[in-house]
């Protein structure tokens, strides 16, 4: 993190001038600095003042993978001038030793100056680059920065598993997703973290001889660290298999048979983590059980097994790496386009938690 230029700048034009000055000074005849930009990243810190420092550290690491302009918005202060901003740069050595730099603008508003923030952000966005807004923790309540920032974002990034009230967070997410005029996309870390688990479950049915068992699923049990992981996994299966809501907490297959969806909490497991998934199905008049479970004390290591017609195939061990915050956000920022599978899963997840 280069602290150069850390003085308050009252207007977007001043901020741009300061950034231009930086680029002019940074490149010399001997050593060219490469400016790389593939996105705008707007970071909304909704927790305490220390969150700006944590977000800044994370943004610096993200810039090494995905360079772009970051605009970090601090939580509203109680006192002082309405609105302050300063610029800084994140530089690292890229390929062949070239220095690669990204820009960061930090906006520090008071509660009173919050109204000025969306307009300033809009002026500071790099033209024609996608806008990712990363909502760090906190509830997606109505009003405040939420509405205007959603409006200018192509991607709304968050981790709903971290919210204190995961169920409400999913409902709020669905409201954002279903805004009629919004063409953006939601990127939920809680959903992306489940991708390896979804791959594991899908891999059980890559074997054509076992695929028909998908139509005979009778029970899905998920042991997880919080309600969001279960809701997403179950919502995904419900939507992919075309299960119907039969009222209350009941779901049925297209052939009318009931499917039991069971959610249990694994003691001491972080929210968003999954400890085990078990799928029971009837196939050719025999029971098939698909199991994936973490090893004791090794939440990343998963053992997979299939028992079909009384015969248990040799279990397999795989790693389902848990992404840290930077890794997760980097993964999210590389997603583009609409994800219809997520949209369907979110809709069903909200139905599940309401049921």
């Amino acid at each position: 993190m280069d602290p150069a230029g850390q003085r308050t700048l009252p207007s977007p034009a001043d901020i741009e001038r300061q950034l231009a000055e930086f680029w002019r000074k940074a490149s010399t005849d001997e050593q060219a600095v490469m400016r790389a930009c593939s996105m705008n990243l707007v970071v909304v810190c909704t927790a305490d003042a220390g969150d700006v420092a944590r977000a800044t550290a994370c943004v610096a690491r993200i810039a090494e993978t995905i360079p772009g302009r970051s605009i970090v918005i601090g939580p509203p202060r109680d006192r002082g001038t309405d609105f302050e901003a300063y610029v800084s740069t994140n530089c690292h050595h890229g390929p062949a030793g070239a220095q690669v730099c990204s820009e960061q603008v930090t906006i520090d508003p008071t509660a009173h100056g919050l109204d000025l923030v969306p307009g300033t952000v809009l002026q500071l966005l790099v033209e024609d680059m996608p806008v990712y807004t990363w909502w760090r923790g906190g509830s997606l309540g109505e009003g405040g920065l939420l509405d205007p920032l959603v409006g200018l974002s192509d991607y709304w990034v968050l981790d709903s598993a971290l919210a204190a009230h995961g169920r409400e967070q999913l409902e709020a997410l669905e409201r954002i997703a279903s805004r009629p005029a919004w063409c953006g996309r939601i990127l939920d870390g809680a959903w992306i973290r489940l991708e390896p688990w979804r791959e594991v479950i899908a891999s059980f049915f890559d074997d054509p001889s076992l695929r028909p068992a998908l139509g005979g699923i009778e029970r899905l049990s998920v042991s997880s660290g919080g309600p969001v992981a279960f809701a997403y996994l179950a919502g995904w299966l419900v939507s992919r298999l075309g299960l119907r809501h039969s009222g209350g907490g009941r779901w049925s297959r297209p052939d009318g048979a009931l499917v039991e969806l069971t959610d249990s909490r694994a003691e001491g497991l972080a929210a968003g983590r999954v400890a085990a998934v078990r799928i029971e199905a009837a196939h050719r008049d025999t029971a098939v059980v698909f199991e994936a479970g973490t090893a004791p004390g090794r939440p990343d290591r998963v053992s997979l097994s299939v028992t079909a017609e009384g015969h248990r195939l040799p279990p397999r061990t795989i790693d389902l790496p848990w992404l840290d915050e930077t890794g997760l956000v980097c993964g999210l920022l590389q997603r583009t386009g609409r994800d219809a599978v997520f949209d369907d899963a979110l809709r069903q997840a909200v139905r599940l938690i309401r049921a």
């Binding site: 490469m34 790389a36 593939s38 090494e64 993978t65 995905i66 360079p67 890229g94 390929p95 062949a96 070239a98 690669v100 991708e195 390896p196 979804r198 791959e199 594991v200 479950i201 899908a202 891999s203 059980f204 049915f205 890559d206 074997d207 054509p208 001889s209 695929r211 998908l214 299966l237 992919r240 298999l241 290591r301 997979l304 299939v306 195939l313 040799p314 397999r316 061990t317 795989i318 790693d319 389902l320 980097c330 590389q334 994800d339 219809a340 599978v341 997520f342």
Partner: protein, 508 residues
């Protein structure tokens, strides 16, 4: 093969089709390729959760070896060559499915292999599906295919849906031998079950060529004779023959690199847009490029090609011997270690645009690049400068794309200077790409032949190379094989090849 509905849970995941259970059988398992590339690739696929839910890896070789000894050998190879550190527990998961079968020159060993595979189907759930990887020298290919057929191993096992074979380059050493091998393969396997590897096609940057050309509307309109002056393809290696003297003596640079890697790059650069991304749609267009290459004319072979051999010199600060001093190289060898060609593609798009290819060993650095030099402006307004634009696609190392264009130097005078606008993969995408073999093995398991070479592609490229080599021999050019100093960019004759046309090689 019975059609089964797609797995609906795969929609939206990294791969929309999962790998079906199968046994991967490596023939020639005691060779270097297995421990350096194949098994490390399988280990990384396992770590990336891309291997089938049930699988087994069977090594087949001539010498007797226990399963444990085979697994131990591969473990050390993986420790040494994997792009990731080996995780003992994950390795054990892979090793639990490793086994070894000794099979010699008689069919009996292959029958034992067949029984072993049937047992794996029952015990490990490999489902009767087979992928044979023939990691053997070219001379062993034909007899081995015969053995597989004789033991009934060219069909899926009980309940299986596929039986595929992967062939390593070189596919033949000339057109007749390539044809003979292709016919032999056809007698044993169906063409859509044959996967001929050119590992260049597994490189991310090579695949990006199609994306760059056909997913960006700004370049394709310029990608033709109206705007492109010429194209340069370079495959430069700083290494010598590295203990492969015997092989290289037989092959030479033209057979080893130009016929396969360079012609694949040429095809991807020059091909027309395919109608879809289906394997045959792409491969059809590639074949058309090879068929459009203007045949070599005996009288012109001296004016349009240069071959040479490296002498001693200094590469990377180290003294290196000349080709003749390399082990297993005949003292009077006339095998070329450098080739430069001027090719013409006789079709509507590329009429009049020369493609200059150069490939060599012991050049100053390792670099693979495709560069399009655009035509100059039609009327020169500025006195100095105005160097034509160049678009360079760097395949390796330091993968990226550079566009060179003119800008005004600040000041009262109308001075102009070229600047480079660079895109580098490492700058924009932090994660390292997978090894080419990982992608190719996975595609073979999935049955996707897009990045593999079809029989007619191989034959079309050999057709050209045979004529070229025939012309060299007839013209006795090998009696007059120029030398270049190791660590230089090749012989002066290669510079003259372009200078005659008023052009020059790019300084890399």
């Amino acid at each position: 093969m019975t059609e089964v509905e797609d797995n609906p849970l795969r929609v939206g995941l990294r791969r929309d089709r999962g790998a079906e259970p199968c046994a991967i059988v490596i023939l020639g398992a005691s060779g270097d390729l297995t421990r350096r590339k194949l098994v490390p690739a399988l280990y990384n696929l396992l770590e990336d959760r891309l291997l089938p839910s049930s699988f087994a890896v069977v090594g087949v070789g001539r010498r007797e070896m226990s399963h444990a000894a085979f697994a131990s050998e591969l473990r050390s190879g993986t420790v040494e060559h994997s792009r990731r550190d080996l995780d003992p527990e994950l390795w054990d998961s892979l090793a639990a499915g490793l086994s070894y079968v000794a099979a010699g020159a008689d069919v009996e060993g292959y029958r034992r292999l067949a029984s072993h595979l049937d047992r794996l189907d029952r015990e490990r759930g490999t489902g009767g599906n087979r992928l044979f990887y023939l990691a053997v020298p070219p001379s062993a290919l034909e007899p081995m295919l015969g053995m597989l057929a004789a033991a009934g191993l060219n069909r899926p096992g009980p309940g299986g849906r596929f039986c595929r074979v992967v062939l390593e380059k070189p596919i033949g050493r000339d057109l007749p031998s390539a044809r003979a091998l292709n016919r032999q393969v056809e007698r044993v396997f169906r063409e859509h079950d044959v996967f001929r590897i050119d590992h260049y096609l597994g490189k991310e940057t090579v695949q990006n060529l199609l994306v760059f050309r056909f997913a960006n509307s700004i370049f394709e309109p310029l990608w033709n004779h109206k705007y492109v002056d010429h194209v340069q393809l370079t495959v430069a290696e700083s290494l010598g023959v590295e203990g492969r003297g015997r092989y290289f003596e037989e092959a030479g640079m033209t057979r080893d690199v130009v016929q396969n890697h360079m012609f694949q790059l040429l095809c991807l650069t020059a091909m027309e847009p395919p109608v879809s991304l289906a394997a045959d749609a792409i491969r059809d267009e590639k074949v058309k490029v090879l068929q459009s290459l203007r045949p070599v004319v005996q009288d012109d072979v001296g004016g349009s090609t240069v071959i040479a051999q490296y002498g001693s010199g200094v590469v990377g600060g180290h003294k290196v011997p000349g080709y003749h001093e390399e082990p297993q190289v005949a003292p009077g060898s006339r095998t070329e270690t450098y080739a430069a060609l001027k090719l013409s593609i006789d079709n509507w798009r590329w009429a009049g645009v020369p493609f200059y290819l150069r490939a060599g060993k012991r050049l100053p650095k390792r670099v693979t690049e495709i560069a399009l030099r655009f035509r100059g402006v039609p009327h020169r307004l500025f006195e100095h400068g105005a160097v034509p634009n160049t678009l360079a696609l760097r395949i390796q190392p330091d993968e990226g794309i550079t566009l060179k264009f003119e800008t005004k130097v600040p000041g009262p005078q109308p001075r102009i200077q070229p600047v480079a606008m660079e895109f580098r993969y490492g700058t924009s995408f932090g994660q390292p790409p997978p090894e080419a073999y990982e992608r190719l093995i996975l595609d073979a398991i999935l049955g996707d032949p897009t990045l593999f070479i079809r029989a007619d592609e191989v034959e079309a490229s050999w057709d050209y190379i045979d004529r070229l080599m025939g012309a060299w021999q007839a013209g006795a050019r090998r009696d007059d094989l120029p030398r270049y100093t190791a660590g230089s960019w090749g012989p002066p004759q290669a510079d003259s090849l372009l200078r005659r046309d008023g052009r020059a090689w790019r300084r890399l």
